[in-house]
C-alpha cells in the first residue's frame, strides 16, 4: 500500500494546532511510518503540489485566502479542518460582531485603510470539508483517531454530546455549583472536559453539539447572575460564526 501524502496549511490562526501535531512527539515518529508529510511549512522547507490529505488550520478572514483555500481543496482528496478556527471560525469571529471599519481603526489607526479584512469564517463556509477536528487547540487523541480511521476506512469518533458528560466522568464539581457559569452543557465534548477538570469554566471552544437547548442554557446562566446580554456574549467567544 502506498503511503498517503499529507500536507498542512494555515490561515488566520495561532498555529497552536500545528504545534499540537508536533507535540505528538514519539507518536509523530510513528505517524511518519504511516504517511508521508509533504508539506508542513512550520517545520519543513520542502514543498509539494500533490497530497491526499490536507489539514487546514485557521479561519478565513481575507479575500485572498479564498482562492488559496480553493486551490488546496482542488488538490486534496480529503480536507480536514484542523482546530476550531478552521472548524467553527473560533476566536477570530469575535470581530464579526463589530463594525469591521472600527475594528481596523482600533488597531491600525490612520493606516486602517491599507488593510483588507472580511468576516472571519470557518473553512467550510468556502469549500467542502470531509472531517473536523474541533478544539482550541485540537485534541491529539482525536487527531490520532482521525488519521488511523482515514487509513483503515473507519468513521472517526467525533462526540456529539456535551462536555458535561466528560466532566461528570472526571468527577468534577460542576462549575455552576461552584457559583460560576459554564458552557459545558451545550459544548461538544471530546476534550475530556479539560478546562473544568483544571478548575475553569468551559468557554465552548469546541462549538455546539447538534442538539442544544440554548434557551435553557441561557436561563440557567441568568439564574447564575449573568444578564441576558452577558450570557449571549459568552456564546460568541468561540462560537461566533454561528451567529
Amino acid at each position: 500500500m502506498k503511503k498517503p501524502t499529507v500536507a498542512f496549511f494555515d490561515f488566520t490562526c495561532c498555529e497552536g494546532c500545528q504545534l499540537e501535531v508536533s507535540n505528538l512527539e514519539d507518536k509523530l515518529i510513528d505517524l511518519l511510518k504511516l504517511v508521508d508529510i509533504v508539506m508542513f511549512r512550520e517545520v519543513m522547507s520542502e514543498k509539494s503540489d500533490t497530497y491526499d490529505i490536507a489539514f487546514v488550520e485557521g479561519s478565513i478572514s481575507r479575500e485572498i485566502d479564498i482562492p488559496r483555500l480553493e486551490g488546496i481543496r482542488k488538490k486534496a482528496k480529503i480536507l480536514v479542518a484542523l482546530g476550531s478556527c478552521a472548524a467553527i471560525g473560533g476566536i477570530n469571529c469575535i470581530k464579526n460582531f463589530k463594525d469591521l471599519e472600527d475594528v481596523k481603526k482600533i488597531v491600525y489607526g490612520k493606516d486602517a485603510g491599507h488593510f483588507n479584512t472580511i468576516l472571519a469564517q470557518p473553512i467550510d463556509a468556502v469549500v467542502k470539508v470531509e472531517h473536523y477536528l474541533y478544539g482550541c487547540p485540537m485534541i491529539k487523541e482525536e487527531f490520532v483517531d482521525l488519521v488511523t480511521s482515514l487509513i483503515s476506512g473507519k468513521k472517526p469518533v467525533v462526540p456529539n454530546y456535551p462536555v458535561c458528560v466528560e466532566c461528570k466522568i472526571q468527577e468534577n464539581i460542576c462549575m455552576f455549583h461552584k457559583g460560576v457559569y459554564c458552557l459545558g452543557p451545550i459544548t461538544r465534548a471530546g476534550c475530556k472536559a479539560i478546562c473544568t477538570t483544571y478548575g475553569n469554566s468551559c468557554e465552548g471552544c469546541r462549538g455546539l453539539t447538534d442538539d442544544v437547548n440554548i434557551n435553557s442554557q441561557t436561563d440557567i446562566m441568568k439564574e447564575h447572575g449573568l444578564s441576558l446580554d452577558e450570557a449571549l456574549s459568552k456564546f460568541k467567544l468561540y462560537g461566533g460564526y454561528l451567529r
Binding site: 488511523t148 454530546y161 466532566c167 461528570k168 466522568i169 468527577e171 452543557p185 442538539d211 437547548n213 435553557s216
Partner: protein
Amino acid sequence: MRNQKETTYIANKDELCSYLLTLPYNIYAVTEKQGRYVFANVDKISDPGDKYTPTLLPPKKYLYPNKETLFCFKKTTEEISEIEDKEERILFGIRPCDINAVNLMDRIFSDGYKDSYYAKRRKNTILIGVDCCSPCDDHSFCYSVGHLEVKEGYDLLLKDIGTAYFILMGSERGKELMNKFTKFRETTPQDLEQINEIEKKKESLFINKFKTNVDNLSLVFRSSMSSPIWEELAKRDLGCGACNVDCPTCYCFDVQDRLEFNVEDGSRIRNWDGCMLRDFTLVASGEVFRPGKADRLKHRFNRKFHYLMNTYKKSHCVGCGRCARDCLAGISPVEVVNSLVEGMKVEAPPPLPSPIKGEGVN
C-alpha cells in the same frame, strides 16, 4: 440473605479500618472532594458518617468502568486477546441505595447473556456497606422507592454507633473477612437496644416523598405516555446526559474500535452511553428514533419506574438523588413523579405491555 438469628458483632471503627488496610486488596473509600464526596483509592479510611452525601459518581465506576477494553487485537493476524481485570478491591462505605443499585446491575448483566467483564469485576470486589441512619440531603428519596432497606449484595454492612461499627455479614466472603479479624466482640443486649433505637428513629426521619406508593409507579407512567408534562420538562432539559452518567443503574453503552498509529494493534472498547443524548438512537441512514427531548426524558423515566420495574419488580431508580442534585435544569424524579400523579387522568390505562420475556413469538 441476612439471617436474623445469626450472631452479630461490634468492632471498634479504627481497629476495623486499620485491619482492612492490612489486607491484600486495593481499598476504595468515600473521600471528600471540594465539599462533595467521591470513591477514591485511599491509604487511610475515614468515612464521613452521617455527613455523607452520595458520591459524584456511583460505585459502578469500578464494576462497570466508563472505558472498558473488551479485547485487544492485531488487525492482520486477527489475533484477539482479552484483558482481564485482576484487581482485587474493597469498596468501603457504599450506602444502601448504591448496594441496591449493584443488586439491580447484577441482574442486568447476568440475565440472558452473562457479561463476563462485569461478572469478573463484581467477583473481585468486596462491598463493605455503611448503613444510613438519616437522609443524606434533600435530593435523595431512597425510602420512597423502597431502596433504603438493603437485604443482600454486601459482604459486610456496618452501622455506625459512634466509635464502633455494628457489623452484619452478608456473605461467606464477609464471614471470612471477619474470621481473620480478631478484635471484635459479640453484641450485647445494650448494643441491640441502641441499634433498635437508631432504627426506630430512622422510621420518622425518612418519609415518602412521592404522592403515591412506589408500587403504583409503573401504572402512573404507563398512563402518562401522552402527558403534556414531558413537553414541559423538555423545555428545560439541556440534553446534557449528566443524569445518565451519574446514575448508579444506568448501564447503556457504546462500543468503538480504536487503532494505534501502526494501524495494526487495536482494541474494542465499550464506554458509557446515555439515552438522554440525541445520537443514542441514530442509525447509519440518519434516522433518529427518539428525536425530541421529551421522547428521551419519557424513555429515561419509564426505564426507571416502569419498563424495568415491571420486569424486575423493583424500582430501577434507587433514590440516590444524584441526577436531581446534578441537573442544572432542576429536573428531579420526585418532581416528575409527583406532577405525573397529579396530572393523571382517571381514564383506564391502555393494556399492559407484556413484560420482557412474556409472550414469546418463538
